[in-house]
């Protein structure tokens, strides 16, 4: 009888409600866009939430400079398609200004450096809310995250003293200089995201589909060979049939062997998968609480 007896539509309604709540409660917000499937779905939902008007906040890409070229190509087309405004801030600028020090060594990555660029951008643009595509099923620290997550004036998350979140009443009150991170996809799982992409026929970057690629095996991960990856002496690259389950910086996003070349095949693969998607992320493997530790200082 109800129009929303389909659970994907229930999740959609919940996310749209949260997106509208952000537009109503905050003055200057932005949607953090990485070119990955979650931020694609989030920006797609934003375009639905305010239709036929434009999305009332820009998408913001924190660019590490170590992108897959496919991601950037996709990003620019996508922004045009959903008629959004795009703001880009570069980690390279933070390095040039001496705000951060580039990591060196074999596992060097700009993943951690992004936090400084992000917090600088929040201050520069006087943002009071940043929307992110993080989901609670991704990682154990994220399982404790609120929809409206408070950040102090240093951009820090205090997981021990979070505001209780009841019913659908979201408390976005704050003092000057503080801001919120808002996660409208909190209740979605990886499989939900793919089923929704299929249901709504949303285009995604080619990286998600099976392709041939030169990869290097390191710590049980398949990293894409690129100019940004420093090879150890005994390391050799090989060509494999792979796809990516998550898309981030080239230096920390691992590929998985896969022959899935359509959305249907991806849905089937994800449904049968016995490993979480964060298992492909080198940035989470630095320690048992790597995600929580990064989030506390202001990471996505």
């Amino acid at each position: 009888m109800l129009a929303n007896n389909n659970y994907l539509k229930e999740l959609e309604s919940e996310s749209i409600y949260v997106l509208r709540e952000v537009a109503a409660q905050f003055e200057r917000s932005a949607l953090l866009f990485s070119g990955g499937k979650d931020s694609i779905v989030l920006s797609y939902l934003a375009s639905k939430a305010f239709a036929p008007a434009k999305i009332p906040f820009p998408l913001m890409h924190i660019d590490t400079g170590h992108n897959f070229p496919e991601t950037l190509e996709y990003r620019d087309k996508w922004v045009e398609r959903i008629v959004a405004r795009l703001v880009i801030r570069y980690v390279q600028d933070s390095i040039d200004k001496g705000r951060v020090q580039e990591e060196t060594g074999y596992n060097a990555s700009r993943n951690v450096l992004q936090t400084v660029t992000l917090l600088d951008a929040i201050e520069e643009l006087k943002l009071d809310a940043c929307l992110g595509g993080a989901r609670r099923d991704e990682e154990k620290a994220r399982a404790k995250e609120r929809f409206f997550s408070h950040r102090d004036e240093f951009g820090q998350w205090n997981p021990k003293n979070q505001r209780p979140e009841l019913w659908d009443l979201y408390n976005g009150r704050k003092n000057m200089g503080e801001h919120f991170r808002v996660f409208p996809l909190s209740n979605w799982t990886e499989l939900d995201i793919w089923q929704y992409i299929k249901l709504e026929n949303i285009p995604v970057p080619a990286l998600y589909f099976s392709h041939e690629r030169e990869v290097v095996e390191r710590n049980g991960q398949l990293l894409a060979k690129s100019a940004y990856l420093n090879l150890r002496e005994n390391e050799e690259s090989k060509t494999m049939q792979v796809r990516f389950r998550t898309i981030g910086d080239m230096t920390c996003t691992g590929a998985v062997p896969s022959s899935a070349s359509t959305i249907d095949e991806i849905v089937a693969e994800v449904a049968a998968s016995r490993v979480t998607e964060r298992g492909t992320r080198a940035d989470d493997k630095r320690s048992d609480t790597a995600m929580e530790d990064r989030k506390k200082v202001g990471y996505f």
Partner: protein, 423 residues
């Protein structure tokens, strides 16, 4: 093991909360459900297996799956509500897993506020405890209509029917005083998997269904109010371009009733009457929209409506007023201040209020009213009167969870300090 995860999107969503003390086997039960529904992944399992070994524990500690924060792992306690997800071919499930120690009320209320169902665990060896009563009272108070009482560790009492029946009749006696519509009892052993996913061969005397079967099939759609039309306006959409020059859409989520195209509606607080011209979503027009659906409503007439206003039916209006009685659950270390002023959030409406009177506090173990003890601190529940700066458009919480709930916010710290259910 069958693969439950292949499924079509034609499923509904069930949100439930698990309640039980630390030793009742709650983590084991959740672990068992997730494992049997193939929702614990190998890398997650490997990680907790390693952590368990490092901590010198002989068995894999499934609690580590939900205790995600550094402090929780260090202290071996759960601090906060954790949300877990799993799905079967029938349904998608969201579990709000709340901590089992004494300071429970705040977290249980938080987790329960969005739940349709509560799973309450009882250790068969100990029977009903103070905690059981407390959990059941909170579930009742927060308006959960379905409770599954799982009598766990049946293996430790020889799978005895008598033990099960004794606990069941004791619980029924006590719960008859509560406002829970639907209570079911299941004898289980979370450790052995008895009556969780598969029917137990050890308890042939039990004629009921397994826990998972009930979770998959229980009917919860009727929990929403489908009669009384309520639409709190959340955001006004005005494209202001040539194509949509005069477009004025009222965006929001239906909080009650079924709104239909052509319906005559009334706007609170102005009292203006108009007709629904269309109900829109980005996917096109809808003929009708029910509770939980995010839509945009357009009206026939050009009326002045903004966030916080509410659309109702002329012959079925909500209450309107500034003097409101609520049951409040206190969520903060700083006690409720009699005569104090707080910010209020109610539907999409913001206001301020003053605490006029504290009537009584509830003893959450006996359900007795404590008329002499009116100090309301962290985890306390009591009945109070507030007066708001602006009229609220509200319903009794029993009638509608969306228009009957509000939160109180400390204006100095901006923390959410109270959860209120309108009486």
């Amino acid at each position: 093991m069958s693969n439950h995860k292949f499924s079509t999107p034609q499923r509904s969503l069930l949100r439930f909360i698990t309640a039980g003390s630390v030793d009742d086997g709650k983590s084991t039960l959740i672990g068992r459900l997730l494992y049997d529904a193939r929702s614990i992944f190998e890398d997650q399992y490997e990680a907790i297996k390693q952590s368990s070994r490092q901590r010198g524990e002989a068995q894999v500690n499934l609690a580590l799956l939900t205790d995600g924060l550094r402090a929780e792992r260090e202290q071996g306690i759960t601090i906060d509500v954790a949300y877990r997800y799993f799905s079967t071919s029938q349904r998608k499930f969201i579990i709000a897993d709340t901590p089992g120690h004494i300071q429970y009320t705040r977290n249980m209320v938080t987790g329960a506020s969005s739940a349709n169902l509560a799973v309450i665990l009882i250790d068969a060896r100990h029977g009903i405890t103070e905690q059981t009563r407390r959990h059941s009272l909170i579930a009742s108070l927060i308006g959960i209509k379905h409770v599954l009482v799982c009598i766990n560790k049946m293996d430790m009492v020889g799978f005895s029917k008598e033990v099960f029946e004794k606990i069941r009749s004791e619980y029924e006696q006590f719960s008859s005083k509560l406002q829970i519509v639907d209570v079911q009892f299941i004898p289980i052993s979370a450790l052995g998997g008895d009556n969780i996913v598969e029917k137990s061969a050890n308890m042939p005397w039990y004629g009921g269904s397994t826990l998972l079967y009930i979770l998959e099939n229980i009917h919860v759609a009727g929990d929403e109010n489908l009669i009384d039309c309520r639409f709190p306006v959340q955001y006004v959409i005005r494209p202001q371009n040539d194509k949509h020059h005069d477009y004025r859409g009222y965006a929001g989520k239906v909080a009650g009733g079924i709104f239909k195209k052509g319906d005559t509606i009334m706007v609170f607080p102005s009292g203006v009457v108009s007709k629904i011209k269309s109900i829109e979503t980005a996917d096109g027009e809808l003929k009708e929209a029910g509770p939980g659906t995010s839509v945009t409503i357009l009206l026939e007439d050009d009326v002045d409506i903004s966030r916080g206003d509410m659309l109702v039916r002329e012959n079925n209006q909500s209450s309107v007023g500034r003097d409101i009685d609520i049951m409040v659950c206190w969520l903060n270390e700083k006690k409720l201040i009699p005569g104090g002023k707080y910010a209020v959030k109610h539907t999409t409406h913001d206001a301020r209020c003053v605490i006029k009177e504290i009537h009584y506090k509830i003893n959450i173990n006996t359900l007795h009213r404590l008329e002499d003890d009116k100090e309301i601190g962290l985890n306390d529940i009591g009945r109070i009167s507030i007066r708001t700066t602006r009229p609220l458009f509200y319903d009794n919480y029993r009638k509608n969870r969306h228009t009957g709930s509000l939160i109180l916010i400390d204006e100095a710290t901006n923390e959410t300090v109270g959860a209120g259910m309108i009486i």
